[in-house]
Amino acid sequence: MKSGLAETKQLSEQQRLIVESVEELCSKFDDRYWRELDSKGSYPEEFLKSIERLGLAALPVPEEYGGPSLGLREAYLVLENINLNGGNSQPLHGQYYLLFNLTKFASPTLKEKYLTRLARGEMRLQSFALTEPDAGSDTTRISTSAKKKGGEYEINGHKIFISRVMQSDLMLIAARTTPYEEVNKKTEGISLFLVDLRDAISKGQIEAKQIRTIFNSQTYELYIRSLMIPEENMVGEEGRGFRYLLDVLNPERILISAECIGDAKWFVNKCVNYANSRVVFQRPIGVNQGVQFPIASVYSELVAAEALSWQAAGYYDEYSRKGRIDEKLMGAYANISKYLAAECSSKAANVAMDIFGGYSMTRDTDVARKMIENRLYRVAPISQNLVLGYLAHSVLGLPKSY
């Protein structure tokens, strides 16, 4: 492995070859590439095109639609290795969990309509419109509405922090087909639709305002006015969207873990190399235990977090194929993975900031860039506290706090 850190996961021959392809691709997109994108706030278009050419963007698409039909573990490896090699795999994780969802719940007509083109890398599905200004993490409170009108649904509402709306061709949107006040259980009445973004934007049915962020991301606030969606573009059954959402959110959390693990390894590598080469007081700073221990400590945490998240991805792959996922166990696995991986990667980022001293503040070391990119995962897609709240309530049986 090029990173210098030993691979602790037991990879199959095929998985090893996938990692090698990703590593080789990343060697053509070096730190300078990502640094320049970061300074301009640009989407990694050229990198994504290469990813699509290699078929990596279509990884979960089933064989019958021309895809490789690979699982969450392979997706994990792709994301981990992009981040471990200094890149940011964020655009790709959206595509992965949305494809897993579409593959599982979309009707054969809808799959036929889009999956073949997604498999060929001709289209992008990287956008997911869930969050609303007044709903936040309380998903059941979304108020974007979808009303049936003949063979179509009319969607109206307001969404925020919706990524890659201008860079993607398709977007999955969550809307209420039955208002919150009219359902028996608050998780009922939400439906998912696949939106042809280019069409909707050109017709003015979606207005996207870019939100300025402190790191390189393309995220938008959406005003949705009379967005007309053909009924065949509904994913799964009407009103059961929350159930399908859970299936998006769990793999998403595992994929976020993979990115965090990749980041954590990048920070550890960066620290080890710097501590070995930076000479102060006539000796490398790495001889000091004050420098060694934080690196060693966070490294041990990353190996543990990696083991759990890799196991979580394996559980998803094995049991979703059999159609027998234990939702409670899956939820615990996915949430704990994300929690531990985000904890250790943000800790690794801080260790790197300390060890690089004044140089951590310079753009050319990339430490600050990676730190800010990684910082997001303490608050998104779910905050660390909300994970703890979920574990306390759903896994440990303590009273519900939310």
Binding site: E13, Q14, R16, L17, I18, E20, S21, R53, L54, L59
Partner: protein
């Protein structure tokens, strides 16, 4: 006529991960992972491009241990059709003659070929003698160090880089060819190619069945790191003065 190209692929120790004992200078191979010899990927690319243009098959031939299957699988993922391994656990104990005879033995058991494509050398020992010796053993022409390849009918043509000039050479097929790494940048296997590679067969022969006679005429006694003393020249002055001093000094050393 569809072409049949055989590419020699070697599984080597990853030179980037060799460990050197600071006191003795001895290179330890203990725990050093293997990888495909880097230049072989350029040769594979050259073969795959010929196949794309003229049709036919690309096959690899490897001499090495079971461990070499890792490198072979990488070649299969690049788009190679078939692979053959002449298995031996003692590659480092063989001399060049034995290696060549082992490879020739493998070739004799494989389907008829038009071109044996080799890299300019392997990234571990870089003796660069195998293609020439193999051509002699097979009694076919050898075009060495090509930086371009063309095929017209049965005539293989290419430019060969020499120190101060380039010569164009040609020969009739069948032939052995070696290519320099600049010839083409190797392709990265796509996901579907990787999956297809997992289903391809690797045919294994035993080195002992290759009728290689006699003992090795030389043996590897040990590997030592070559110590290179750095000159550590410091220049002083303004940036433009330092720049011209640097250029003068490099010119004096024959570096530019």
């Amino acid at each position: 006529m569809p072409l049949s190209i055989v590419v020699l692929v070697k599984h080597v120790y990853d030179e980037g991960q060799l460990k050197v004992d600071a006191a003795t200078g001895l290179v330890s191979l203990q725990g050093v992972p293997g990888k495909v010899s880097t230049f072989d990927r350029n040769a594979l690319e050259a073969a795959l491009r010929l196949k794309q243009k003229f049709g036919g098959t690309v096959t690899t031939l490897t001499l090495g241990s079971e461990e070499a299957n890792k490198s072979i699988r990488e070649a299969l993922a690049m788009g190679v059709d078939n692979a053959f391994l002449v298995r031996t656990d003692d590659l480092l104990k063989l001399d060049s003659r034995q290696v060549v005879e082992g490879l020739a033995g493998g070739l004799s058991k494989m389907p008829k070929w038009d071109i044996v494509m080799c890299a300019e050398g392997s990234t571990d020992v870089y003796s660069s003698v195998i293609p020439a010796m193999l051509a002699e053993k097979l009694d076919v022409p050898y075009l060495s160090y090509l930086r371009s390849i063309e095929l017209e009918g049965q005539t293989l043509k290419g430019d060969r880089s020499l120190e101060k000039r380039v010569v164009t050479v040609e020969c009739e097929l069948p032939a052995v060819v070696s290519v320099v790494s600049e010839i083409y940048e190797p392709r990265i296997p796509t996901l579907l190619q990787i999956m297809a590679a997992m289903k391809k067969q690797i045919t294994t022969f035993d080195f002992r069945d290759m009728n290689v006679e006699g003992e090795a005429r030389y043996s590897l006694e040990g590997m030592f790191a070559k110590a290179v003393d750095r000159k550590k020249v410091m220049f002083e002055g303004s940036p433009s003065e330092v720049a011209s001093k640097l250029v003068d000094s490099m010119a004096k050393e024959g570096l530019i």
